[in-house]
Subunit: 364 residues, 2 copies
């Protein structure tokens, strides 16, 4: 696969960042680099786009201290390593990049947190994405199932797959880079997207023939969704104009999974506009579902209660629906799992629960 | 997909177990059921087959107590549920089966541990496998990559895939049931199998073209390997006569991953002869590798030290190689990861480390 436009832009932008450090040194100055402050203090909920983004607070990284100079050196080494990968048509896990730095002597990272953070800093400064740097996470885990043609990079070049006909029961595994250059999405007659938290429920809907019957594209989130999973959902929503629904367990952590799909996460606030799908709708399990369907429950732990209370002050959950749901769950002190619907048999979720909920939401 | 011979046998065997309970009741007796004792006490290392199996200790499950009677009732309900699934061509996650029991009134399971254990008990008594009961785990996660044709069940019947040409960069996802009836493995000109612990290393070997160059079939273990992953490896070894190698991190937990591939695990001791590949060879990371290749390391934690000491009394690690490796690691008090090889660049593992080690082992 040849170097694409996005990767060329990444190379150029990284080179100009390094060039800027060089010029400062050349002019006899101590080099500095400006970045948005990347802490909770500087996270703003962008009401216009309905996503989290960084605010106006900036931090200056200077080489006046040993630590600062070391960070600058790491920046240069990392930019060089990324350029080399793009040129050689290689990629690297974030973990490998951390170990690669073992050979950088004084620029060596002390932990993978440091190298991960620097990769994100470079995204912010270069306005490129980590995927264009050829950096990828250990594994993504997400799978798709539905009547959708996609083309993706294989060892033998771009290849087309239908995510229903050309896959086994486990679905199609989403690669780490789902930008257009690596991953084309064809037009589809599917009606909507359903992102699903657990592998068990994803398999249930496939076995029950739900995608065929209702024109759904299923996306298995596999816990907190990877960047590529969120980006893929966003592209289906934006380019194919498909409504997005999210079906999770009914507990505070699952509410956060929804929020990260819909509004973005703090760690990736600089690319929320690429990753978040603000029109995504939450199907359940809601606190009201637990009552209405008399679902089997577990008691909320102290950690669960703490998470729910924190959500009450989280701007992502500020609307009436969420405030109501969170308060109802705090009152009943109970949570439930999406697979608990099996209480009524293996078909209940596809014959009754989902058609009812999707009908109420106006998706079906 | 129609009911296959194995599933028919499962139905018959389960029906006869329930019939046996019925006959005892009919004769006016309190029904009993005999099982091997399923605790560490009754695990033996079968020197002939080189795998873990249950010993001769037996336990009698009787309905004389309320708890015992309840277990018998659950056995009947579970057998009925499994029969129904096979008849209706359905399957269920272990979690769903636990929730299904919500409708069984007094036979309801109190936890998923109970329902998982009963499924295993039924395997032992019926001499069938859980997969033939149409029970599956939440997710398996394992992927294959290599020049191998397999045929597997899809929604449109059996379909053939080449695990190199017909897959994206993530490889082919192993389904939960890899018995012949669901999963055919064609003859292959591959030379050996390499089971790999981490997704990062699996992706590295694919990107570097290792499977093509050396005729390797890669299997991503994804931590402690699922039953289907171990069964698939066993079938490649037994039916296709391929040597099996295991490439993991260098720490006590990874040694156990190797042992579970090679010798079996305590939980599945009743089916070790289906799952374990006693001729599997450990590539590394070994304690000697850490020294020889001067790999980046982390200090062993107290838990790591405890695990290593426990391994010294584990019959699976009784041979000279393992005793030496465990003692060397205890002495240096350090562990290392397979991705630490990236210290020498992204190609070191495929250009140097693996050819050297596989050459020494006589695989290449």
């Amino acid at each position: 696969m040849a170097t694409n436009e996005r990767q060329k832009a990444a190379m150029e932008n990284l080179t100009s960042i390094v060039g800027n450090i060089y010029d400062q040194l050349d002019a006899g100055n101590v080099p500095v680099m400006e970045l948005p402050l990347r802490s909770k203090k500087n996270i703003e909920f962008n009401v216009q786009h309905n996503v989290w983004t960084y605010g106006d607070l900036r931090t200056m990284r200077t080489s006046k201290t040993v630590q600062g100079a070391q960070m600058m050196l790491r920046t240069v080494y990392t930019a060089d390593f990324i350029n080399e990968m793009i040129r050689d048509n290689k990629s690297s896990t974030l973990r490998e990049m951390y170990y690669i730095s073992e050979g950088w002597e004084r620029a060596k990272f002390n932990s993978q947190d440091e190298s991960n953070l620097l990769a994100e800093d470079l995204e912010i400064v270069s306005k490129c994405m980590r995927e264009d740097f050829k950096l990828r996470p250990e594994e993504s885990g997400a799978h798709i199932y539905g009547n959708l043609d996609i083309s993706t990079q294989t060892k033998k070049g771009m290849k087309k797959f239908n995510c229903m006909d050309d896959v086994a029961e486990t679905g199609f595994a989403v690669p780490y880079n789902v930008e257009k250059e690596n991953f084309e999405i064809a037009d589809t007659d599917a009606k909507f997207v359903m992102a699903i938290e657990t592998g068990g429920m994803f398999a249930r809907l496939i076995e029950n023939g739900f995608p065929e019957k209702y024109g759904a594209i299923l996306v298995h989130l596999s816990g907190q969704p990877a960047r590529s999973t969120r980006r893929f959902i966003k592209r289906l929503n934006e380019e194919k104009r498909l409504p997005v629904t999210v079906f999770t367990d009914g507990d505070p952590w699952s509410f956060r999974i929804f929020a990260s799909v819909a509004y973005g996460a703090i760690k990736t606030a600089h690319i929320s506009e690429y990753l978040a799908t603000p029109t995504a709708q939450f199907i359940g399990i809601t606190a009201s579902d637990i009552l209405n369907y008399e679902l089997p429950t577990d008691k909320l732990s102290d950690k669960d209660l703490g998470a729910l209370n924190a959500e009450l002050t989280d701007p992502r959950f500020k609307d009436g629906f969420w405030v109501g749901e969170i308060q109802a769950m705090l009152e009943m002190k109970k949570k439930s799992e999406q697979q608990a619907l099996a209480k009524y048999g293996l078909d209940f979720v596809t014959d009754t629960y989902l058609p009812e909920k999707l009908g109420d939401m106006g998706v079906l």
